[in-house]
């Protein structure tokens, strides 16, 4: 079933190119149906007792590697997020050369599904590199400034190569790379483990991204077509954090503890740096990009703290962040398609003519600033409690300030776009079409459901037991 999900999406993605070139509408609905079928399939997967596993022998030299797909709570949450975001993004798609666009989107979804379901480090590295190619092509063919695509590619491929190097070294030392989700493993020798961990960590930090590896991100998120930005900003940016949780914590427990202060520092620098730039940025997409830097920094710090509340909160917030970022990018995309700009200084008073658009943006902004009842709040609460419990009282207090800053910059975007004086030079365009609303509804539903009933917090049980084991192992030492 997992293989059907991953390979099916990839195969059907390639098949898109068999459609006639001009079949824009057909291609779009084809994409929606494929992605929707993927989502339905995901909902039918039962990731608990026993979690589905599919494994075939792949490589024997220089280390054993398997084609091994599996699911645990965290990857299940992310796969849900991914498939739902893909459906919504494709629903809201309206671009030239739509057939190629949809095909690449499906390839992107397929490779990311593979990444989150891979249970073998080599397979993980393979999908990690593979998912860069569709994004690059989407950016270079559909964005205004294709040069940004190169920066994205060079940064991320360098990260991917470090991941590859680390995987090769790990496989050589350990004999096998089929190690994700296999329980606690005997730690590697102290000579090698820190270096391998650093290589993994840099790859993850670049992908997330975390300050100071973030310079590719704001431009990339600003340049990508809105549906792609929704998928990349919401889901692909989680690949790094996912890596820290499923590879960092279980396989490199002692190193995670040893480097925790560094990771927490980087996370908090990003938290404030992102928040302050988001406060002054004029480009709405870049505001969201920098807010992402800020939020993901907080999540990284939570993972580095690695106590029960923090890790559960991190997973919860990862998912919540995915949903509201996707919604926000789609909404900004709608604004852009209407007003042909997204700069805060040029847009104002849209709420009068476009009340539905304003309402949608309001919900997304509120979720983003962590209003209780929406998904962002529970995640932040868990994380703050976790950081507080770990004894970092001051950090928890500082994080609270950043949360307040989030309200400031999100309300600034909302207010600037929707309220205030109307700009006379802006074209009057119709409000959201039903299909555009329909693309947002599932995301909002998810935000409300997770806000009221944060079931995702229960997902990381397996991972958490690993964290606990690591902690006890360290104490025994």
């Amino acid at each position: 079933m997992l293989t059907a999900l991953v390979c099916g999406t990839l195969l059907l993605g390639f098949l898109t190119f068999a459609l006639p070139k001009t079949a824009d509408v057909t291609a779009k609905w084809y994409g929606v149906i494929v992605a929707g079928a993927g989502f339905v399939l995901v909902m039918f997967i039962n990731p608990w007792n026993p979690p589905p596993q599919e494994s075939t022998h792949w490589l024997s030299y220089p280390f054993s590697a398997n084609y091994h797909l599996g699911v645990n709570g965290i990857s299940y949450a992310l796969v849900q997020l991914l498939t739902l975001c893909a459906v919504c993004a494709l629903l809201g798609t309206k671009v030239p050369r739509q057939r190629n666009f949809v095909g690449l989107m499906l390839l992107l979804e397929g490779s990311m599904l593979g990444l989150f379901l891979a249970r073998d480090l080599l397979l993980f590295a393979l999908f990690w590199d593979a998912m860069l190619i569709p994004v690059f092509l989407l950016m270079i063919a559909w964005s205004v400034h294709p040069a940004t695509a190169w920066r994205f590619l060079i940064y991320n491929v360098t990260g991917g190569l470090l991941l590859l190097l680390a995987t090769a070294a790990y496989g050589w030392l350990y004999g096998t790379t089929d190690v994700i989700d296999t329980g606690v493993l005997p730690p590697l020798s102290d000579n090698w483990a820190p270096w391998i961990f650093i290589a993994f960590a840099i790859a993850f930090l670049v992908k997330t991204p975390v300050w100071p590896f973030h310079t590719w991100m704001p431009d990339t998120y600003a340049e990508l077509p809105a549906p792609v930005a929704a998928v990349v900003g919401a889901v692909q940016s989680k690949a790094g954090l996912y890596g820290f949780i499923t590879i960092g914590l279980p396989l490199f427990g002692p190193q995670m503890v040893r480097f925790a202060p560094w990771l927490i520092t980087l996370g908090f620098i990003g938290l404030f740096y992102g928040a302050f730039i988001a406060l002054t940025e004029n480009d709405a997409r870049k505001v969201v990009a920098y807010s992402s830097l800020s939020h993901l920094g907080l999540i990284l710090a939570a993972i580095a703290v690695s106590n029960e509340y923090a890790v559960r909160g991190a997973v919860l917030y990862i998912v919540a962040h995915g949903y509201f970022t996707a919604a926000m990018f789609l909404i900004i995309g709608y604004v852009e398609s209407r007003e042909e700009t997204r700069s805060l200084s040029r847009i104002g008073g849209l709420a009068r003519g476009n009340p539905i658009l304003a309402g949608a943006m309001g919900i997304a902004a509120l979720a983003m600033l962590g209003l209780p009842g929406l998904a962002g709040f529970t995640g932040e609460l868990f994380i703050l409690v976790g950081i507080y419990q770990a004894g970092y009282v001051w950090l928890a207090g500082a994080a609270l300030i950043a949360v307040i800053l989030a309200s400031a910059y999100m309300l600034r975007v909302y207010q600037g776009f929707m309220h205030g004086p109307e700009k006379p030079d802006l074209p009057q365009r119709p409000d959201l079409a039903p299909i555009e609303v329909f693309a947002l509804v599932p995301l909002f539903a998810a935000l409300v459901i997770l806000g009221v009933y944060p079931i995702t917090a229960n997902y990381p049980d397996q991972a958490y037991s690993l964290v606990a084991n690591n902690a006890s192992m360290l104490e025994n030492k």
């Binding site: 490589l59 030299y61 593979a130 092509l137």
Partner: protein, 488 residues
Amino acid sequence: MPHLLVPPFGNFDYNALFPLGIVAVTPLLVLLADLIMPSGEPRRGIAVGISVAGLLAAAYVLVEQYLSHQFGPAFGFGFVLGGFSIAFSLIIITAAIFSIMMVPTERDDEKEGPVCALMLWSTAGAMLMAGAADLMTIFLGLEILSLALYCLCGMIKGASEIRKREAREAALKYLILSSMATGFMLYGMALLFGTSGSVNLAALQAVPASNPLFTMGCGLFMIGVAFKIGLVPFHVWMPDVFEGAPIPATAYMSVVTKAAMLAVFARFLYSVLTPAGHEALIWPIWATAGLSMVVGNLAALSQIDMKRLLAYSGIAQLGYIMAAMAGTSTLGMRYALFYLGAYLFMNLGAFSVVALVSRDSEEDGHLSAFSGLGTRHPVLAAAMSFFLLSLAGLPPTAGFIGKILILASTVAAGYVWLAGLLILGTAISIYVYVKIIRIMYVHVDLAHIREIRPLSRAPWIGVWACAIATFVFGFYPVALHDVLPRIR
């Protein structure tokens, strides 16, 4: 398992050289056919057909030899038949087949026969090098290989005067520089002979490393090797020659010369230096390999000619292959072989596409010839993208698996800095290769768009075969992996 082929001769020496003999005699048939067939249309394709048949027969005999384990030294340790020589010979033969497929794309079929014949003789020399176990055989193989290549580089009929001059320039450049490198190598061989009193490689094991003549001989020998493989800083001739020579010759040189020299290097490394514990003597060669990865890719960045670009990319790729052997472990040898096989397919696949795209005798390899290929010829463009992604080491291709094997082997050998340089070089190379993909799909230069006028469909065989091989070894490397450990 019954074998169809009984060893044809009573004498093992001749049996060992049998595949090489096939390759060396086939050109005579080619030239004979060229002589008796009436010129023009009926003669087309005959030379290529006979050559490929001869190479396939030789490959068949090699596989039979491998399966029936007819291994051993021949001609008093002058030539050693074993898994090692058979693997390299098969790689060389496959490369020769794909290169010969490109020959008929040339406008003038008058010279199909001579070109095929020279290429086959050159292949025979390369196969001799693959099995050579003494200095004389190495030199003999090298000369057979090179002499035919000097002619091949300059053989371009039916082209414009400018193009002809370029080809002649390439041939002359190759002749002069290559002879100089051969001179270095020969001097090194003479010194090595002086230390051990024997041309046999095995005899060199007994020479102490403290012997200054031995050190000097090793150094000179390695310079020759580095020149032929094209490692930085001995690489300067390569882009010029590749650019000037006709496409089949370029494609041929980009794999066969390098593979043959790699075989010699590996043999020297594994049967002389490693057993005697002298690996430290050739540390500079690892430095040149590391330098090649970075400089090769950096130089490829700014190239606007496809053949030059592939020349620089080949310099870097060979750096990767050398890095696999840095640990001088048997595993490293296998990974080098695996990557060489992957390189063979992705590189010759790319060359086949170049041969199809730059059809006319001008052989315009300018990058703009690829502009808009994605709309003009989607299959060709998709295949080219696939080969380029493989050269860049992105999944799911043979290049990806090959690279991770090399990384594992260099890290295991303790050459972490080499692995770091590999990562750096690869990161640069992404830009090089993806740039071409962008030109094919996105950056459409309308002024340069030309129709593809197929003169022959033969290179398509190369394109498809290489694409399938690159894909299979990338997705299911076990296919090659289960064979590799048995080699040596």
